[in-house]
Symmetry: C2
Subunit: 596 residues, 2 copies
């Protein structure tokens, strides 16, 4: 077994924690009844397990290759992509007006988790296309929508996001690519973009590039950046392909991981200027990017979860098969290493954190559905505030945790984990990009303390703390040591989060450098406590189901044990994180810079 | 700058924390006065920086290669090795009777840190030779010593340790390689060994393999394993080389990291049996291995420290050079990223943990010198107990922490960190083996709770706790917020360690599986608190030197700020670890194994 979607846990989280049933009542989500969703998940599992997962290691070893501007993807990837598009997977979350299936975010989230777990490198192409689709949906003209969206939704064409330049990484204000009006309504782009995922490939006949650039009279900095669309092949009015655009792939990167996906250097305008069209209004490109940022960051957060799940499955398999040593409690028989307490501890840590990440991500996905579709404006706003607050957590905490889990996966394998043929090292390498792209963990933390806490004086966070606290009433009704321990540790964790968040809200305007120095610890604190909150809800749901005699008892007991583990081994760290947030800022800043 | 030894910190730790001056009073360490040690460190820095460090990336990209049983090391490695041996570095810690320089462990520790930081793959060959030398010194016959040791100490020949087989990794009791008496006093070995570092290479004319194997009538399990010496080329009585032995390198591993060092599969006896000679007594091989284990584990612990230092230096350099964004506190100028609070936090975390690891390792090195050379038997025993207790910490905690620091190094580089050409990804990959080989972290933790705490009822740990507590008298004399905060957090950390240790000592005989489930958290707790103890001592020494107007004020102020950071960001986690040790064991074991 290489990978199977964890359907039982996915369904548990969707139903018990993320309110799948409530989605059906939202307008526009008519066909999301249990059977439809079940069928989608089953089909997605088959595609992920049978088609994508077996290609994952091939992608790692064979890699995307570049020669003379042409990029060849690893063997099997192109065929898999064509089937993927043919089966309609590319547009499951897209607007039906352009051929999409308009599935709720909660459902697409579970499906995307599968693609990412099965084959992260493969999954990046649809993810980037999805971002480009969203940009055109949001700000493209009707003509642009008609010209590009049908083929992008169907997967006939793919999309890219061209943001980064060598001097403009986290700081997009430094973008230098130039866009000069050609006089016919189009622009000519010149400049070089780096780190362009699937900027060139052999899947499809066309690639639609979304590009940040500056017009000649644009103001300096963030307010002078515009968004353009520039297809690899120009598209005629009748939809047929015209001339090749002046865009060339100069090279692809030699990376630590995700070898299957080409990360391109794209040169625009070597022959005078690449033809491009303004999307939306001039000088508002960065603003448009920010609108799309939630979706992109959420998607990368899912990568942390997905790699963790994949690494966990592989580690469990190895731990059951590998015979080594005897039981520390006695006996002469050699045992599978899953019997050894520390191997169990590692597996439990992998499992507990993976399930916590899944629960948090799916709950946030469900809130995105409510934020966009709920008939009540107040409910939409409330959900949107929660989503905005949580995006940096889903991105930052899940990717940091995904790295930890992938590393534990290597450790479970012992010496074999270090051997590339074993395959678990790939997850460890692939995971490493996730805390970096779409904004590093520090960028997420900055967003958290600034736009999400500082700006509203901590109100959204206070509302979240209150919601977490409200759970205590239910937890108090539960019996048993597991529930009591979880209840106690969650209360301490929530109090710690409240202290840390209040400190940030109060100090943000006064001592911003010290607050920023504690921003990543705060993000971690919030992730750890939100994970605990969801695991507590899971424990509650599992105990209730058991009491009502409903469901797979083994699964429910395991959920309770896993929640308890999370409390004792992860949530227990919340208070120290809060202390670092509150008292640790000065220590970051005290030393002379020259002394590093 | 690729790497420079951190000589100022090394000297500070040696002098202020590890009692370098006291070494001169120990018998046999006559020429370790300040000037001699200074000269050795300066020379070693030059060799590490100028010769070894530039080869590190070449080793990674060109890798050791295997063809038809012949291993070719990466370009430049062989020449570097020959100079290394020629300059006498191979034997600096060895017995002068065989041509070594007999330097104290404290001095060789600093020197080894440099080799490992400059080029981990290169350093493994002398490290393994050193282990083989120690085995022969300890248990070899006089004839064996005469035959092998001079050439191994000089570096003319190298040595290996052949322990692992595919079914015998952590569990060496499962070794199957057979050793049959040949009737002439020698044995014939047949079997296959894996993961043999530098088991074959092109540095030297001969390789001396130390091999674990079973004689025909050996009892089952650990008590039936013997140690043999088997040279690649047989050595005639006059010291000249004879026939090639029946040992073949079948392949080398394709690994996540340390690509420059060949990790070999060695086949013994394909043509009837490799000629080998028993070392020491039959069936005592594992016992001999355990005698050498402290040195080997200590050496791997240094690798965690060394890679952390290397990753830190590279990250600092990048953070000073990379211009991106503006100061969060205001201003329009673009700044180097070292100005951003979270980049500083990451660099401080790297620096603080690296310095803490160095201090702990050097203090343990110094105790090894006292344990072997102190004229007073009580002092020798006291130091040996401390060393024994601390070896799993130096190995387990330093390598886990080294991995964390190497990962932070990638993060500081942002997107460039994921690009292999940048070089920091290599440290991240190389570091990953260190928590695995010479006993995984779990194996160290098992040693800690069993042989080091359970066996003596926690006495050695209680003595350590008492020693740490005694420091409070001195800390209480210090003024300033940094010292007060460190004092408070160290007191809490020591109390947490005492609670955790006492729990383990009390429960070890009663509930061994639950105690084992908390063993790695205990190891981490002990590492974190020992690091805090040494950083507190460093803060104390720095404040005293400043008060006495002695030394580089910038360095001393930085040491104080770094200690304060360690307290607020690392030591603060001790209490949660103790809680996990005490309360978290059951949660590891509760779930049905089938539910994974």
């Amino acid at each position: 077994m290489s990978y199977r979607a964890p359907l039982q846990d996915m369904r548990f989280v969707m139903q018990e924690l993320a309110g799948l049933d409530r989605l059906a009542s939202l307008p526009g989500f008519g066909d999301t009844g249990g059977e439809v969703v079940d069928a989608v998940l089953d089909e997605a599992d088959r595609f992920a397990s049978d088609i994508l997962a077996p290609l994952n290691r091939i992608g790692d070893t064979e890699r995307a290759r570049w020669q003379d501007g042409v990029v060849t993807t690893p063997p099997g990837f192109r065929d898999a992509y064509l089937r993927f598009a043919e089966n309609g997977w590319n547009g499951i979350g897209c607007d039906p007006e352009y051929g999409g299936q308009g599935m709720p975010k909660l459902v697409t989230t579970a499906v995307y988790e599968m693609w990412k777990a099965a084959n992260l490198s493969f999954s990046l192409c649809p993810m980037l296309t999805s971002g480009a689709i969203e940009a055109l949906m949001l700000r493209g003209s009707d003509a642009q929508k008609q010209m590009y969206l049908h083929n992008m939704v169907s997967g006939k064409w793919t999309g890219t996001m061209n943001l980064t330049e060598s001097q403009a990484g986290s700081d997009l204000a430094a973008v230098r690519t130039r866009a000069v009006p050609a006089g016919d309504g189009s622009y000519r782009l010149t400049g070089q973009k780096i780190f362009i995922t699937y900027g060139e490939h052999d899947y499809t006949e066309n690639i639609i590039h979304l590009v940040l650039a500056r017009t000649p009279d644009a103001p300096e900095g963030v307010k002078g950046i515009s968004l353009f669309v520039a297809p690899k092949f120009l598209v005629r009015a009748d939809g047929s392909l015209g001339a090749r655009n002046d865009i060339r792939c100069l090279s692809i990167e030699h990376k630590l991981g995700i070898h299957g996906s080409p990360t391109c250097v794209l040169s625009y305008g070597e022959q005078g200027g690449a033809t491009a069209y303004l999307v939306g209004e001039e000088n508002r490109g960065l603003e448009y990017m920010f609108i799309m940022m939630n979706a992109a960051r959420f998607a990368v957060g899912l990568e942390g979860l997905a790699i963790a799940e994949r690494a966990y499955q592989k580690a469990v398999q190895y731990a059951r098969e590998r015979i080594q040593g005897t039981d520390i409690a006695g006996g002469k028989d050699k045992v599978a290493i899953v019997r050894h307490p520390d191997v169990r501890r590692m597996l439990m840590r992998m499992k507990a954190q993976t399930e916590a990440m899944r629960a948090v991500a799916y709950v946030v996905a469900s809130a995105q559905d409510a934020a966009s579709r709920h008939p009540d404006a107040g409910e939409r706003a409330r959900n949107q505030a929660f989503v905005d607050l949580m995006i940096p957590i889903v991105k930052g905490w899940s990717t940091e945790t995904g790295n930890e889990v992938a590393s534990l996966g290597v450790q479970v394998h012992g010496g074999m984990g270090f051997i590339e043929e074993t395959g678990t090292a790939q997850f460890f390498r692939d995971a490493r990009i996730t805390t970096i792209y779409e904004g590093t963990t520090a960028i997420q933390a900055n967003d958290l303390i600034g736009r999400k806490i500082g700006r509203d004086g901590g109100r959204a966070l206070a509302a979240l703390v209150q919601e977490m606290r409200a759970l205590d009433v239910d937890l108090a009704t539960l019996t048993g040591a597991d529930a009591q321990r979880m209840r106690a540790l969650l209360a301490r964790g929530v109090a710690a989060l409240e202290r840390g968040g209040r400190h940030v809200a109060e100090q943000y305007g006064k001592n911003i450098r010290a607050v920023a120095a504690g921003s990543v610890p705060l993000l971690q604190l919030m992730g750890v406590v939100c994970g605990g909150w969801q695991m507590a809800r899971a424990l509650l749901a599992a105990q209730r189901r058991l009491a009502a005699d409903g469901g797979d008892r083994g699964f429910l007991h395991a959920k309770i044990a896993t929640a308890r583990f999370y409390a004792d081994h992860v949530l227990v760290g919340a208070e120290a994180l809060a202390e670092t947030v509150i008292d640790g800022g000065d220590a970051v800043l005290a030393m002379d810079e020259a002394a590093f």
